[in-house]
């Protein structure tokens, strides 16, 4: 029997008991579950960051994996808990936009409002639905409970405002930084699928006070400290510095504007 995989993206950190409580609940329901931590270091309440990291990981897992995303500033309010089916994967979390990228990029998806509280842990606290709703539902879903038993389809899931760059003139766009990665690289929302011309045309990217016009193929061909643009492993353009943090060099973080101009 292949094991059931469950992945976790949260903003709970790893110093507290929150994540382990969720794991205990999952494993009590479904002892054969294999739980993979994606990250628990999403900045508190940063839904867009959670949405981005989730989207950069789910496709690498086998179909039938259940992906749990808990970045949930509205816990205890009337925001809905949801289950999403998309391209053979399942997603469980709050209906607050954290699945926006999944909705945009999946070939096909359905969203259900989780209402079957017999699959919840009781009593449901007002502050920790990760433990009381999302973990137990993920455990039951991974164990084989059909989505239709968990709640009815809805057609109006919450989506984050689209994060694609805006065209500001014929040859210019303004986008922004989706995330600063561990190495200080600025991952922008310019994706190679739409901005592939950057590989053959002259360009200038402006971020902070710096103008960058070099596209590097890999880190090794650049000089220590040099600023450059590189196509990241997910296809987004990244502003990077060789063995240095571009974020610190440019004074830019998540959300910072990034301008692109093409020439010639």
């Amino acid at each position: 029997m292949p094991r059931s995989l469950i992945t976790l993206v949260t903003d709970f950190g790893t110093s507290d008991h929150f994540v382990a409580a969720m794991k205990g609940v999952i494993l009590s329901i479904h002892p054969q579950a294999e739980i993979v931590d994606v990250t628990h270091d999403i900045h508190p309440f940063e839904i867009a960051e959670g949405a981005f990291v989730l989207n950069e990981t789910w496709r690498y897992f086998p179909k039938k994996t259940v992906h749990v995303a808990v970045v949930d500033p509205g816990v205890g309010s009337d925001r809905r808990p949801v289950l999403v089916e998309a391209d053979g994967h399942l997603f469980v979390g709050p209906d607050n936009g954290v699945f926006s990228f999944v909705y945009e990029q999946a070939t096909k998806f359905t969203v259900r409002h989780l209402t079957a509280d017999r699959y919840f842990r009781k009593p449901v606290s007002r502050t920790f639905h990760g433990r009381d709703i999302f973990a137990p539902v993920a455990g039951h879903a991974a164990k084989g409970v059909k989505p239709a038993l968990l709640g009815k389809k809805i057609n109006d899931p919450v989506r984050l405002a689209v994060l694609a760059p805006n065209r500001t003139s014929r040859r210019a766009w303004t986008g922004n930084v989706l995330k600063v990665d561990r190495f200080g690289n600025l991952i922008t929302n310019f994706h190679l699928s739409e901005f592939g011309e950057i590989r053959t045309r002259a360009f200038e990217i402006t971020c902070g006070l710096q103008h960058i016009n070099r596209l590097a193929l890999n880190y090794a061909e650049t000089e220590p400290g040099e600023l450059f643009v590189i196509v990241g492993s997910s296809g987004y353009l990244e502003v990077a510095a060789n063995q240095d943090s571009a974020a610190r060099r440019l004074g830019c973080g998540a959300g910072a504007p990034v301008d692109l101009e093409m020439f010639g």
Copy 2:
């Protein structure tokens, strides 16, 4: 065959080889063990913090789970290594108070002094009993070695000084902060089971220089930046700030005094 679960609470951090060495030892003894990291970010040597986090997690796991807690400033001295059986769970670690909450809250428990060194890794180092005593004993216990084979019962396990609040007058108590969580919430040692009246009576909690008298049901009903009291997911009263760190706002951390007064 259900897998054997082993959880780990330590102050070893995640940057070094310590935790992986423990896991390698466990998996060499019991390859079917499933190891769950609770946290390795207990502040170095903070036994009370380790005891609190352990207590907030063990009950969520299935019975027969083995919980390993290594916060062990006395490693290499004559403090005893122990095995605790409590409410169907097993606990392995140093006899320094890290199991105090388990002793207080379990329906029934027994404590054994781990003396059967044939279950230890040899030679036993003087500085890393996590690898040489606690990990191998946990592996053997999870694999089915009977507690009685691991050591004799003792009746004087070390307990931390009781952390419950002190009554200072008819309507006033002084407690303290058990832990600051990831969000900056101050988890106090006032538990709803004893201070449930806070839900129906006027009150004032004083922490740092601030007086707080609002009890919120969830975060969503409060204003950004507002300070309030909320019943945490474990039943302890917490001092919180909406989308901000109460710890930073109040300048309070673990161990800080918290005063509660009830009115009316």
Copy 3:
């Protein structure tokens, strides 16, 4: 069937999607793999630190474990990807010295240049060989693909400059700090196997501006704040401070010189 174990040492951190992408790739190839995180907190591009941590962990795991080490500043250049067989364990990573300690300490080892790209993930990106080469090769190797199918033997793997201390006079050596651990202990490259006389002779260790001549058997016998030398759990001499950070006290970090003089 015993599960296949795969361990991971990287400098990817735990805030991004990198590690989860690797795990998804591994589990898609080999769903029965059991993945153990050693650490992802190697300082970016610090090959020597990764080599040290890897060497402190691999021997604790059962034979046949596959150890993946990705500290890879040269990703995308022509540095070779390699598979190492050593003492019954397998290692996968870049040929940049990260396996130096394995080569020195294994009884026997062979190194292969990974060229069989049918076992890679396609297309292979220029910046993330952890996901595209090392994870899939580890998955296939753990699943049973023979090393000989993965690439040809090479005889010139890259090794870091030897990190053993240099003798500077008849009774004096200069070594350095291999790593600062979580507790601020300075792990030096003086190993008990060569410097065992420190247990019976007078000595002085100089690090930063401090001279230390006490060898402690355990932490408990020292005074709070006291600086001393202790034999670490791996056999290396460590400079430590009781319940304090020796690194901060001495102002020393990884790479700092450490002088040892023996007397009498």
